[in-house]
């Protein structure tokens, strides 16, 4: 994978982040992503992202589960091997509702989680470049991809003037690969251990 150059600006308050996102976008820079320690509502819209369609996928998986259950049970009990349970009808729809419901939920949940992992390229042993180790702790890390025309030093200054507490230029692989996080530098000193 090709390495690319990024300008990184770290913010420590979401109230500063939002106007900064607006300023950076108005100035014509393309924000690759903002890495945040928790879901910041409205940030996706501020970045111009479209809504996710994950829930639509979930609906389709659910319907698949419903039809799998109804199809299999009705074929098994009414066609393949009809059994007489106390003279009741072979096609006993009310008695099949529990299993149909359970399979609907099961298919939807499993399918959605797998789709989520696929879309986000997430799996055990998957490794991605981390622009700042505190992005999962207390920093909101804005990453801007440099083009041929970008003056990275200017952009750093611009981010700092927009309220970034830390700015940085990084050359990194964009995307994911199989790797190990323990090969990174250790960013934190050993913490004071307190007996729990």
């Amino acid at each position: 994978m090709a390495k690319k150059k990024f300008v990184v600006g770290c913010f420590d308050d979401e109230a500063v982040l939002f106007p900064a996102v607006k300023k950076v976008r108005t100035a014509g820079y393309k924000i690759k992503d903002v890495y945040t320690p928790f879901p910041v509502h409205g940030l996706d819209h501020a970045l111009g992202m479209r809504e996710t369609s994950l829930h639509t996928a979930g609906f389709i998986y659910g319907i698949t589960g419903t039809s799998t259950a109804l199809g299999s049970i009705s074929w098994i009990l009414a066609k393949d091997w009809p059994l007489n349970f106390g003279g009741k009808p072979h096609f006993a729809l009310p008695a099949w509702i529990p299993i149909t419901f359970e399979l609907t939920v099961l298919f939807a949940a499993v399918g959605m989680v797998l789709t989520f992992c696929y879309l986000c390229q997430m799996a055990p042993f998957v490794k991605k470049h981390h622009f700042h180790a505190r992005a999962t702790d207390d920093l909101f890390v804005m990453v801007i991809e440099c083009t041929d025309k970008t003056n990275a030093e200017d952009l750093k200054g611009f981010l700092a003037s927009s309220g970034a507490v830390e700015t940085d230029i990084q050359v990194a692989e964009d995307g994911w690969w199989l790797g190990r996080y323990d090969r990174d530098e250790v960013p934190f000193q050993k913490n004071q251990t307190v007996a729990a």
Binding site: P39, A95, P98, L106, A109, V110, Q121, V141, T193
Partner: protein, 480 residues
Amino acid sequence: MHLKYESQLREPLVYGEKNYHQVTEDIVRPIEAKPSKLWYIGFYISVALLLFGVYSIYRDVTYGIGQWNLNKTVGWGWDITNFVWWVGIGHAGTLISAILLLFRQGWRTGVNRAAEAMTIFAVMCAGQFPIWHMGRVWMAFFVLPYPNTRGPLWVNFNSPLLWDVFAISTYFTVSLLFWYSGLLPDLATVRDRAFTKLRKRLYGVASFGWNGSTKHWQRHESLSLVLAGLSTPLVLSVHTIVSFDFATSVIPGWHTTIFPPYFVAGAIFSGFAMVQTLMVIIRKVFGMEDYITLGHIEAMNKVIVLTGSIVGIAYLTELFMGWYSQNKYEGYTFWYSRAYLFSPYGWSYWGMMACNVLSPQIFWFRKMRRNLFVTFFMSVIVNIGMWFERFVIIVTSLYRDYLPSSWSVYYSPTIWEIGFYAGTFGLFFTCFFLFAKYFPVIAIAEIKYVLKTSGESFKDNMGKIEEQTMEEFVHDHAHH
């Protein structure tokens, strides 16, 4: 941008002067510190119980379930009692994380992670009972509908026992996915501040490479919301289906149409009690008093008094119908086998009434709801009561059936039935001790999300907002 405002009248969800980093520190500290002596003692006791359970099961498989005191009418005894008891406990976690998410109950953030873990471990314990009760457990896969060379001969899809197979396994799978997908960002937090290579590697694998991208968070939010929407009817369906195991039969005391709501209320009741037991301990041992506040404890006690009273109404309804139906078998079961104190099992019925209906009424008093000792004591009492409930339902309906000639002798468990039950306690607490040591017991990202609206030190800003005029308010908040 979504408005960061919450009324000052609401109790803070997070106490103390906190910032985002402090939240991480507080919650990850127990993972990074060496466990205390108490942890080791608790863990070893749990493992010992688990081993006793394994030995009991080993004997049951070797010699058959003749090891148990089941007899010709009491075909379900301690094992199915314990199954229903554990499944019931396993309802609180998903209820807290799913239903309270849909109801926008902010206080769930402090307790949902540990409650979900508890749910998963409780369902694992519950699953043991029907599996080993099969006796010839190597044939367990016969409950699955798969094409086979015996016809193919299929399972009976009209049977509640098969519905149970699907319900419990679906519930376990979905709860696990819900719990683990919520854990991913927090595991990444632990990974990114790890100070040993091994720790960084293990949490790196466990966190699936999570990096906190805005797009990923957007999908994660969508996933959580839909999983919550799916889990809400699921959690209600599971105990409903468990109650169908009884309600679709023709045994007096079992074929009752109120069973589904009655079982679901009882499940929530016992599940919240178990959450309380664990939370009171966790907040003390790990010093999480700022996150699992008295407000959280009080909210759960309110659920306990509500569901306990629903269960109480169900008991009284059953008694009334036992008389009103004028069915002599029903009347005998309800008014002799159960409600008559001096019948062979009368003690269990009145134990149930005392533990489940009378004692939780203490939570009508705010002081009691916020008293940790009372909460802990009551949480144990409620779970004893809920065990009695399942025992009453199963055994008092079975030990005397329609024919007096086949009435059974007094059923009491053997040491191997008790050992099996003790073993599931071992399994549950072994898992829970490991969880508390290696996973963040509180959802870090979710606490950070509510920190600036519900944190104690941020509540002052809310006062300023409340004093603003409409023009100032719009001016301050409309620019995003």
